[in-house]
Symmetry: C2
């Protein structure tokens, strides 16, 4: 850690109650995880997501709004129900890792639809890792073969340990088999997973990692059309949890695998652009996961079927994670208050408020 | 002011430098205004906007992304150039005023396009009032009749004093004539403008307010198709600065006035939806203001012409205000630092960072 910047944060003004917005910092998010317990928090976030997927039609939905550059993408992901508005800011810059920066950073906000006033600002780099893992495990709970106990984890970066722990907590996975193009990432992942109640098997090749796995999770970060899994590597009956292919030009699976799979997605208009299925024709059949969760469409129908959750991350998942964090922050007091909203006594008197603040 | 909420903000973690994001609170924004001087700050923001309008084509532009409810709207307004990304969150809830809340609150963010890391979070309720007034005065500088000295101010709410001071600082307006449907708003506006070097004339009717005015500014907040100005009230040669009509179903001017005016707009795809011109056919000719500023299109061409700036507020104006504030915040130190970005020493080791934080 580096503390060369002075912490100038002092709140010597006394704004009105309405002007103050709860803020969950990285520090408080980490405290919250340990207060609740990591596995418990993953389970609870998955439950909130599941509840919101059950009322999918009550949300305003839109594909995320991207700003692309040569180096990566910055995206806004808004959604709202009748009472609450939420959005996440998230970037994806694969080259960041070489500069010692996070590939993905994020923060999010909730607001009251009836007043437009923000009610929560939260870090979401940590929270996105949690909700992505919870979402993957929730999908697998509905799609993976019964009794799945072994997961291959292809790509051992920042998301990998969260996936492993979520699949243990939510799906009963007992063994994770690790592979990454960089053996140091595998070593880091294996080290981090010690003491979490999983059998951890570092592997020398992707082929070795998928041996005996009923679930294959891919979470790599290259911004290109990569083929992390080739067609001959994927046998009958597995569940594929494809996490890394999540923007135009960024995929992980050979097209032939997709053609043999039953494909489940979050929000088709977004996944068609960003997911593995960008490799397929725009009318290739896919099933919306919420319909499986709601019992409207079948999930896995036979043991030999290959199911694919083409995960790109959707706004309702972030909304779910943020509403969970807001409730927990209120319960635990693990938040700061930010002087974010100018709130004069007379709402028409913003100018007077400014002038009265003159030193 | 009400201080019943405890200020729990304490930053006892010591995150890395990259993890800390400058935050300009309402308190610091007001300090900054007084440090720079209100008129000087309005002039400087107008200059930054003008500079960015001159390089209009170097920005990614999109109409704002709204979430509507029965009570109002919440919007995201993103834009980016090659190096910098910015967005504003803003709401518009006309009924808020009756509940003692601001009709419009806002905050904004800047990020580095090359890394995706946020570099500034700022309150923008106050800053939006400043940039809206600076933008109006900048447009009038290019469109109002030469030697304009008198402005009618129709609608004396939160935006009105900022408009009056900006028109003094940037356009040489000497007299403002005030009218509002609520005489208390007019009294408040007149009181606030004392000592700002303007002749202030409260008026009993809109007709009286526009007597002798070369510029007519409308800034009312009703969310409906209102007719604040009727056709017979607007004579030849005036400049209309229509600020209040800024969302679908919310306009202020009689359609006949529009038909007699030369209309100047910020970003046509947005203004066609939100501005006064939502009353006209989608192909009604309008001029983009940036082309006037860049000398590509004429602005006012004769003294009898009615010019109309159909202002709805565009993302590049917020981007301009935010980049200005970032520079000034760095210069003055008027900011706090927020622990917003989880930034482990090894970027792939988010999980390790979380586990090492275990109490």
């Amino acid at each position: 850690m580096n503390a060369s910047l002075p912490l100038t944060a002092t709140f010597n003004a006394v704004p009105s109650e309405k002007a103050l917005m709860p803020f969950v910092s990285v520090e408080n998010m980490m405290r919250l995880v340990h207060r609740v317990g990591l596995e418990q928090m993953l389970r609870e976030i998955a439950e909130v997501i599941e509840g919101n997927f059950l009322r999918w039609e009550s949300f305003d939905k839109t594909a995320r709004i991207p700003a692309h550059s040569a180096d990566g993408v910055i995206e806004l992901m808004p959604t709202a129900d009748r009472d609450t508005y939420g959005f996440k800011y998230v970037n994806g810059h694969p080259k960041n890792m070489r500069e010692g920066l996070q590939t993905v950073t994020a923060f999010g906000l909730l607001a009251d639809m009836h007043t437009g006033y923000p009610v929560l600002l939260s870090e979401m780099t940590m929270l996105t890792a949690l909700r992505t893992a919870a979402m993957s495990a929730l999908a697998a709970k509905h799609l993976a073969p019964k009794g799945a106990r072994v997961m291959a984890m292809i790509g051992n970066g920042a998301q990998s340990e969260f996936q492993a722990v979520a699949f243990k907590a939510i799906c009963g996975i007992e063994e994770v088999r690790l592979w990454d193009i960089d053996p140091r990432a595998t070593a880091k992942c294996a080290r981090n997973l010690q003491g979490h109640g999983l059998t951890v098997v570092p592997c020398a090749t992707a082929e070795e990692a998928i041996l005996g796995a009923q679930v294959i999770t891919t979470a790599t970060a290259d911004k290109r059309l990569a083929t992390i899994l080739t067609d001959n590597m994927v046998g009958a009956g597995v569940h594929l949890n494809a996490v890394g292919g999540d923007s135009p030009g960024k995929t992980e699976l050979a097209r032939d695998i997709l053609l043999r799979s039953d494909i489940f997605v979050e929000f088709p208009p977004q996944t068609r652009i960003e997911g593995e299925i960008q490799q397929l024709s725009p009318d290739h059949p896919v099933t919306e996961l919420w319909e499986v969760i709601a019992g409207r469409k079948p999930g896995r129908t036979d043991a030999a079927q290959i199911t694919l959750f083409d995960s790109v991350g959707f706004a309702i998942e972030d909304f779910s994670a943020l509403t969970y964090v807001l409730a927990k922050a209120r319960e635990t007091g693990l938040y700061d208050l930010l002087d974010m909203i100018a709130d004069p006594d007379d709402p028409r008197d913003l100018f007077g408020m400014l002038m009265r603040a003159k030193p």
